[in-house]
Symmetry: C2
């Protein structure tokens, strides 16, 4: 016996998004709902209200993760989820979509009178963005057992606040445990990149999260008069930085589209028109879904730093700012999602996530995968972040079908 | 009949430099004698004291240029000179050396009882550095007739002061005219660059002042997530700036050592590790002693900007910050100085000045040339600016010989 073909209610789903988006709404559009602030507390209250309206059992765990449970008959749950915290000038969809679409899925099950075999859970994890407290994805990190909750409590935010105190202040330092046995975790999220829109596709089947390597490179040269110092006697830190930047661009062209490299920040000293720069500090962001390839890119960066020293008579040092290995999602679950999308007539492609998500914290402990929907112009972490309603509905309907199939009938 | 072979008095010359250097001395070494400040006024008083001690006739013109005159019998004068104002953290030698060595030359003539045919003049021009009032080389510009003194009076400084008011406040708004008929102008100056030291030479024979072209280049791209935006969908302003920087470096290698190019200032927006830069603002400083070649370098910059637009899908705009044509010095006088240096057994090379000097304002109206002495490590506009006493004496003795020859005997 299989479940009937269900469809989400577009109006109800958009109303859910708008209701949550009103919490921490910015005057010019977008939202600011930094983790555990008053705005986040308002968002959490709205979330709890919607869960209660759906007669879900609510649990809040010690790090403030919220779990809404639609009862089944087995212990193992099918979990949907994401987060409702945002960056300081965020959009309506990043994180919120995965949680809200989960509630709409439950509403559909409820409307259809379906009692699932596996309980269906909607999770909202604390502090995914990392915009107030480092590290990001903190709530799912603690939930997965990779961080002790007492360590989390002691984290001081960028505004000087202490995470544990803020959790208690807003009343979200819960006493309950989240579900421990996960049959499958599926997270719907906006792509936050331009690929799906560029390819004209409905759905991204996310095969994993890229590995990330962040390096700060410091070039020490010698300041010199731009009018009196011949090229051969210069130790130009800015030119060495440009050499490394171009070398990374050439590396990307050689390694193919899976490799990304970005020099997003660069500061020259003394930064004057007529003085050769004595110092350049630059950041290098390398990403690749394959850790061996990412290591090769890091080796290329090291080679470029050495070449820059030799060519420009400068000293180049570096320090690692962050390093995460790639996280592959569960192949069988990824295959299932893709097959379901194609059955539903949705155009799709497999891709890696370039950004971090709660799903990557669940993946080491349970079957996990993600569904992406297109972001207009790839814009995210910005009040102009937007996803067309049709794309939201496609993603939510795919989530509904996958979760219904995974949960089964009681 | 020729003058006897004279030599400067090293102790006396160094004492003159130290006495002037005490005016505006900084606690950690070096001097701060911004034009027309109290410290500059102290320096001017010390200069006038030394001129009076040498029985020189003193004239101060309406823009505060000081002329000390050692009488001759003709109208046309042989002038030495430079400036005594400094940048806010300057050294003892930049400018001061040319004025002080001039006084030592006069002291030698006086000691030897020589009455020259052409009067021998020591000039100290107002606001050469341009560190307080723009433009730089203002005093010699007004003296040469290229700027009206009333326009100069109205200039507001970077500290809000008005040039004319400051001139009157320190009592240096003179009523006299400087000498109008210049037989030859010779300026001794530190190189402010590393070439002479690198070549192990005593003297630089300055053949002119390079042309200067300053351009501000603005690259407009599009900010994008470093983890979700494939290289082919980026509009990376920082990468485009690196491309232009490397292209200018390649141009210098192709055009040879006469061409200089410096990207000294570069600012990225938003300047974050994980965001592709939406905007880069960079400065390009191009210099060449040949105006045709400098125009070719500017054309290369334009070509690079066009290539960057095409390669990186960015918009590149630019504006000219400054443009000065090269100023050649008087060939016969340059030849004479070089021949004299070689007669004296001084090792020397011809070179262009990369920095601006008062001599370039005199050159359009009278025979003019310059003598450079080495700067340790090429450092200038810095409290660590230094020139070895031996080099100072070489330069001063060459100045003495050239001026004695040019002035002739009464």
């Amino acid at each position: 016996m299989t479940a009937p073909t269900l469809r989400v209610n577009p109006t109800r789903l958009l109303e859910r998004i708008v209701s949550l988006g009103a919490c921490g709404a910015l005057p010019g559009g977008g939202v600011s709902r930094l983790a555990l602030t008053d705005a986040d507390a308002q968002g959490r209250a709205e979330l709890l209200r919607q869960m209660r309206e759906l007669d879900m059992e609510i649990r809040i765990d010690p790090v403030g993760n919220i779990f809404g449970i639609h009862a089944g008959v087995e212990d193992a749950v099918v979990m949907m989820g994401s987060h409702i915290d945002t960056v300081s000038t965020g959009g309506l969809y990043d994180g919120a979509l995965g949680v809200i679409a989960g509630l709409e899925v439950v509403a559909c099950l409820k409307d259809a009178g379906i009692r699932p075999r596996h309980p269906v859970v909607v999770a909202a994890f604390t502090n995914e963005e990392g915009a107030r407290y480092a590290p990001d994805m903190l709530g799912s990190l603690v939930y997965s057992g990779a961080m002790d909750v007492d360590d989390a409590y002691r984290i001081t935010g960028c505004d000087g606040s202490v995470l544990g105190e803020e959790l208690r202040r807003i009343g979200h330092c819960g006493m309950q445990s989240g579900p421990r046995d996960i049959h499958a975790y599926v997270e719907l999220h906006i792509e936050q990149g331009p690929v799906l829109e560029d390819q004209g596709l409905n759905i991204g089947i996310v095969t994993g999260v890229q590995g990330i390597s962040w390096t700060e490179v410091t070039v020490e040269g010698r300041s010199a008069h731009a009018g009196t110092t011949p090229a051969r006697l210069r130790h130009d830190a800015g030119l060495a930085a440009a050499y490394i930047t171009m070398g990374l661009s050439d590396m990307v062209a050689a390694m193919g589209p899976a490799q990304l490299a970005t020099v997003g920040a660069l500061t020259l000293t003394p930064n004057l028109v007529n003085v050769v720069a004595s110092r350049a500090v630059m950041t290098v962001d390398l990403r690749n879904p394959d850790n061996t390839a990412l290591c090769a890119a890091e080796a290329t960066l090291a080679k470029l730093m050495g070449e820059a020293e030799a060519r420009y008579g400068v000293n180049v040092s570096h320090r690692t700012l962050a390093r995460f290995e790639p996280v592959p999602f569960t192949p069988a679950l990824v295959d299932t999602i893709e097959a379901t999308a194609r059955q539903m007539g949705l155009s799709c492609m497999r891709l890696y996530s370039g950004a971090g998500h709660d799903a990557q914290m669940i993946a080491p402990v349970a079957p996990a995968a993600m569904i992406f929907v297109p972001s207009v112009a790839g814009i995210s972490h910005n009040i102009r972040e937007y996803t067309h309603p049709d794309d939201i509905m496609n993603g939510a309907n795919l989530l509904l079908r996958v979760v219904t199939d995974q949960a089964g009938l009681a």
